[in-house]
Symmetry: C2
Subunit: 124 residues, 2 copies
Amino acid sequence: MARDQKEIEQGTTFVPKFDPQGLLSAVVQDVATDRILMIAYMDREALDATISTGVAHFHSRSRGRLWKKGESSGNILNVEEVLVDCDQDALVLRCRPAGPTCDTGKVSCFYRMLEDGILRPVNS
Amino acid sequence: MARDQKEIEQGTTFVPKFDPQGLLSAVVQDVATDRILMIAYMDREALDATISTGVAHFHSRSRGRLWKKGESSGNILNVEEVLVDCDQDALVLRCRPAGPTCDTGKVSCFYRMLEDGILRPVNS
């Protein structure tokens, strides 16, 4: 294994790897229930804002700008832990949400399950 | 809200939305522990293979081909539930893993936590 790869996988230095679009994936998980709430994308600016404020910020791909989750609704995500994966191109944000995370008003964006080709409500 | 958008968010029809690269994000979560194990990407082919076999398949961006997770190591992911998000561009695969998910031998790819700018092992 190349020395760089070893350092990325085993080291203590945080060297986030952004994709060609300048983004990495961030999964939001409720720290109290372990439920997955949403997936979004971060550029360097969003990552820095998240780390410096302790509140989740993303890069809105549709609006092409920094997006503080909950900036309109007030349903912010307080970040308690940031987990980093082996190749440092994905994060898990373990959060305490201030309210429902999904814009539909649901607790999680993952409120449906695929069953025999049909979407059905998740029991929760 | 446009009728299409309403159907996507509230309907029972599965109409997965792939990005311009033909991919959607899939988060793998252990169905027994709720721990997040990895994040990967699926194209239409990987999604179809996952649904038809009940074993997680992804699109390897580095190798540019269909990738059955565990094809070399044997550490496959048996998919018990597929959750779909509001805009149908991301999935959660709730799985029963046959072994450690991470190629490093760790249970999860998310084995480190960012703390004061430094990566530290997750207690687990």
